[in-house]
Amino acid sequence: MTADARILDRSYRSYDGPRSGLFGAMRTVTAHSMRHALGIKRRHGAKVIPVLTILLAYVPAVVFVGIVALVKNDAVKNDVLPTYPEYFGYISAVIFIFSAFVTPELLCPDRRSGLLGMYLASPLDRNTYLVSKATAVTAILSIITIGPLLLILASYTILGEGPDSPLHWLITLARIIAGGLCVAALHTSLSLAIASTTTRKAAASAVTILVIVGSGVITGVLVFGADQSVYLQLANFLRLPFESVLRVFGERTQADNGRAARLNDIPAAATIAANFAWTFVFATFVWWRYRRIQVTR
């Protein structure tokens, strides 16, 4: 029998097939960056932070779904279960860690090694390269900013505890996506901006955490300690994205939440606009930084 015999031709041949052009290149970079950030096909150490943070982001959601499924007492459920925007209170630290450690992984090595030059020798240019990277960061951040809430919505719906009507269900879905994107976009642009200033991943991660926590401390001291304008809280990157989610859901900081209730003095539109404005400012900074980088000379 020779039917199974094959000739394996390894010679170099010309290629006449289809080429996907610019959008194909962008898709490739985005997918590759996501795989890289999630530690896929990388050493075990590179998988620890993404896997751990994603698990931690979903654990509260699983617990809450379990409570809804197992506890029949509505009063207990009302006391224990958070609203959709309140869920971010459980995972805010996870989001900080994820954006601080994963985003630099996607930008810094390309510049440090010079691989950026090879990317820019493809159909990509600086802008499309950055859009591809930002899309990758936003997409993987959305795994933890949107994913757990979608899990809760789907589970509540299956358990008969979801929104009352199909319209309400769709509105909730839209708010989950919009709120999650608010958080992901601000963290993406902020961490990319910091990563664009250094080729060292560790430095970028440290500075990202410092800026987020520092902005919270400084604005907190100014507003609540020195009694300055509450609008300074719009520069509090620790709180602004989650405050924006509250406003997207039409909720406000609870009045019994001490000094934080002063944030209710800021209109919802101003909060959400500030979220977008900071996202735009940081994105513009990244764009400006990359325009100045000399790849070859």
């Binding site: 290149a25 490739t28 010079g114």
Partner: protein, 312 residues
């Protein structure tokens, strides 16, 4: 294959602050292997960056495949391969993964990119090593990976920036052979940027020589050398007298001990040499064509500031 130049520049000027890298460079690059020569800092890498559409000319026009790389950059770069000078490969990535990724970046579907990554790595002699992390490879192997990623997507033109940098003589020979194969077997045009004249002379069909921001030569290698052929004249007799007579006949002569080196442009001048030697009563021990090396041509062009342009 079209006779149109694959790259053409007309009065290209590029300044970096107070430094003028290119000061009105005009040139064409035709099919085959073309050497891009110049001293360090002559603007070779700047020109490669402009061909890739990474830098906009301050003045002049540059076209690649008949397109402006600044306005049609994606279309131009899709058909280009690029191997940078410095070692820019990520150490923790397998050679195969990198080559496949770059092929996908240039538009190949994943299945084709996978097949061609293997083919390209086999073609450069890394078939058995293709799943090794690049960081564990030798300098020679890394240079081969850079070449493989540059050709895996079957580009029309590949730009190689100092591809033999850091290689030992044997590895250099192998790399030059691979570059020659790119043009002859794979049908890929090559623009080879190098400051090593000897290797350009070995593999290139034509050269573009940069000097002082200008193109001082842009011609087929054979034309450049043949236009300045010299003959070595070993004499038995009065060498000084022969030299004086030849100079009186307006020939360019230099003396090297008992030998004369005479620049000859056409056969009539060979007859003149014969007649002069006979008139002086000397004997010719040896009359030998001395093909000038690219180095001779290069140094003379840069010294004299002459410009040589030839058609291919």
């Amino acid at each position: 294959m079209s006779a149109d130049p694959i790259i053409s520049g007309q009065g290209v000027v590029k300044r970096w602050g107070p430094t003028t890298a290119l000061d009105g460079a005009s040139f064409t690059v035709q099919h085959g292997v073309t050497g891009l020569l110049g001293a360090n800092g002559a603007g070779k890498t700047t020109l490669l960056g402009m061909i890739l559409g990474l830098h906009r000319p301050d003045q002049g026009a540059l076209q690649v495949f008949g397109l402006d790389p600044m306005t049609a950059g994606a279309h131009v770069r899709e058909r280009l391969g690029y191997s940078p000078e410095h070692h820019v490969l990520p150490g923790d990535v397998q050679a195969f993964d990198l080559v496949r990724h770059i092929a996908e970046l240039h538009g190949l579907p994943r299945r084709d990119a996978t097949n061609r990554a293997s083919d390209a790595l086999y073609a450069v002699g890394l078939g058995e090593e293709r799943f090794r992390p690049i960081g564990t490879m030798s300098t020679g192997q890394k240079q081969r990976v850079k070449l493989a990623q540059a050709i895996a997507h079957d580009p029309q033109l590949v730009l190689l920036d100092e591809p033999t940098d850091g290689l030992d003589p044997m590895q250099r020979d192998q790399m030059l052979e691979l570059i020659r194969r790119c043009a002859l077997e794979f049908n890929i045009d090559v623009l080879l940027s190098s400051h090593l004249l000897e290797e350009v002379e070995r593999v290139c069909d034509a050269v573009v020589i940069l000097g002082g921001g200008l193109v001082v030569a842009n011609a087929p290698l054979g034309d450049l050398q043949a236009a300045r052929d010299a003959y070595l004249l070993d004499l038995d007799g009065d060498v000084d007298a022969v030299m004086k007579c030849l100079e009186q006949r307006l020939l360019t002569v230099t003396r090297d001990a008992t030998q004369l080196i005479v620049e000859v442009v056409d056969d009539a001048q060979l007859d003149t040499i014969r007649d002069v030697v006979a008139d002086v009563g000397a004997g010719i021990r040896r009359l030998e064509r001395r093909r000038r090396s690219l180095e001779d041509v290069f140094l003379e062009l840069l010294d004299t500031g002459q410009s040589v342009t030839g058609a291919r």
